[in-house]
Subunit: 319 residues, 2 copies
């Protein structure tokens, strides 16, 4: 019976492009690009935690890579190579074919090459490690926010959380909103082109995987600064208008997670350049607040009153 | 309740040494070393497949990194950095402390720095991606064996398989043999120092994870050559003398897997230099056969008769 080596040969071996040596040896070989830093990130998706049993394998192939590319985007790095560790409960040709299709489609589009992997039998788990390159001094770090910086957000947040709420029966969205939100949850787009253009402009950046306020909290903590956020300035996705419960709506918008938008800070003098970078990357940008010296995060509504949240963001081990 | 961020902060964050930016950002940053190739490999260990429930977490931390370092050793690469994706069924401080101890002890010894990771809740799974560096033209590839090459083996094979057979009740070893074999299975040593010294000497190399004959088969297939192996020339671990069933003994020796020894080929003119490299690395080496132009693997006993095996090696998806 054909086994793991044939799985790799059939589904995960394509001729090496940028790699010196691709899939099939003990390790892949790639040329270290002179004068650049390597950005390295890893993310694992598990059935039952990050996606439901029976999830579309093409979407899983896409998303498993996209969440890693999003981390590279948040560093301002250019995706270059990635490895895949895949645990599968059984060999399933149709599943593998669809998974590989979703994976390679995104990899090809972003110029990121699969160079190695490991396949084994077990509960469905997908771990990808992605490597990008970035001029060392231009990387967008979490610890680089400075008082006075504008706080920027790409695209909109909350749609992925709404899709999850719909699947859990907590909201009932229209068919159109449902489709749009499901696409955001299952086929997220990493803001790679935007991250690349922000290299010379932004100070700090992070991608929103755990929720806007939680991820903003990471930037504030690492930078030793605070932020004032105008909730009314945060773009609301159209689907949010269908949610009657304003607490749930706010939770999706501010703490939903799985959005993979970029949250970044830049000096006010760069405002026009930042907007131009967004336009060039085809991503709408909104200035949602500013960085201040006083630590802590303060959310305000349009009238200047404090906004409080029941839940700050997502934590896999939280109670 | 503290969660995944505190797990990372408490157990997996140490000050960056060689990294420009270590654990705690969207991605780690490391300087790409000029003029070298990067060797990239990934391996995943799953509970119930690669190790039993209740396995010593310190040994798991060690082994999860060791199997990746072994892949780098088989390329002749110097380990530099690694990432860790960890799925844990529940937060368990004692488990995490011991796991991190085993992981960091080996990482420190081999100069390989943990630069990033992902922690999530799920069935116990450990995926590590390791990055090494090697002069591009000196990497030991699987496809570089040439007819006339000597075939070399480091150390001894079969002890890890014997430990597994003991745990499965298929053999009864003495306490001493049992302890020695268990150490080989649970605390494997990657032949990093040897791999490094073989760079300028060897043609092809592979590490033995699936079994001697299976892994040799990968080299032969990729190189388009064959091999003649003298089974009597393969060093037998002392514990093998305790196995009455010669078929089982041969299976452990030749197809056992989990040995993490290096199997490599080198021109006969390099024989003395190869032995000196082994001595310098503190690893015994045995010449067990030679590479020939005729494809296929031929095993012979001391009298020149063919030796056949019921099972070639390990395959996670084989019947």
């Amino acid at each position: 019976m054909p086994g793991e080596f044939e799985i790799i040969a059939r589904h995960f071996s394509r001729p090496a492009r940028s790699a010196l040596l691709g899939v099939g040896d003990d390790a892949a070989l790639v040329a270290a690009p002179a004068g650049l830093a390597l950005a390295v990130t890893t993310d694992m998706l598990l059935e039952g935690r990050h996606f439901a049993r029976g999830a579309d394998p093409a979407a899983l192939g896409h998303k498993a890579l996209a969440v890693n590319l999003s981390d590279l985007a948040a560093m301002g790095a250019d995706p270059r190579w990635f490895t895949l560790a895949l645990a599968l409960p059984e060999r399933d040709e149709a599943w593998l074919t669809a998974f590989a299709r979703g994976l390679y489609a995104l990899a090809g589009r972003e110029g990121c090459e699969l160079v190695g992997g490991d396949t084994t039998r077990g509960p469905l788990a997908i771990a990808i490690t992605a490597i990008g390159t970035v001029p060392a001094g231009e990387a967008l770090r979490r610890d680089a926010a400075r008082p006075g910086d504008d706080l920027w957000l790409s695209g909109v947040t909350g749609e992925a959380a709404l899709a999850l709420a719909q699947r859990q029966g907590r909201v009932r969205l229209s068919a159109e909103a449902c489709a749009r939100c499901a696409a955001r949850l299952d086929w997220p787009e990493a803001r790679v082109a935007l991250g690349r253009r922000l290299r010379a402009l932004a100070h700090a950046a992070i991608d929103i995987s755990d929720g806007l306020t939680a991820d903003l909290g990471h930037v504030l903590e690492r930078s030793g600064v605070g932020a004032e956020v105008e909730v009314a300035a945060i773009p609301r996705p159209a689907a949010l208008a269908e949610v009657a419960d304003e607490r749930l709506a706010l939770e999706c918008l501010l703490a939903g997670g799985d959005d993979y938008e970029l949250l970044f800070t830049a000096p006010p003098a760069q405002r026009d350049a930042v907007l131009a970078a967004g336009a060039a990357a085809g991503v709408p940008l909104a200035c949602i607040g500013r960085i201040v010296a006083d630590e802590g995060l303060r959310l305000r509504d349009a009238a200047g009153r404090p906004v409080t949240l029941a839940r700050a963001g997502f934590d896999h081990f939280a109670a």
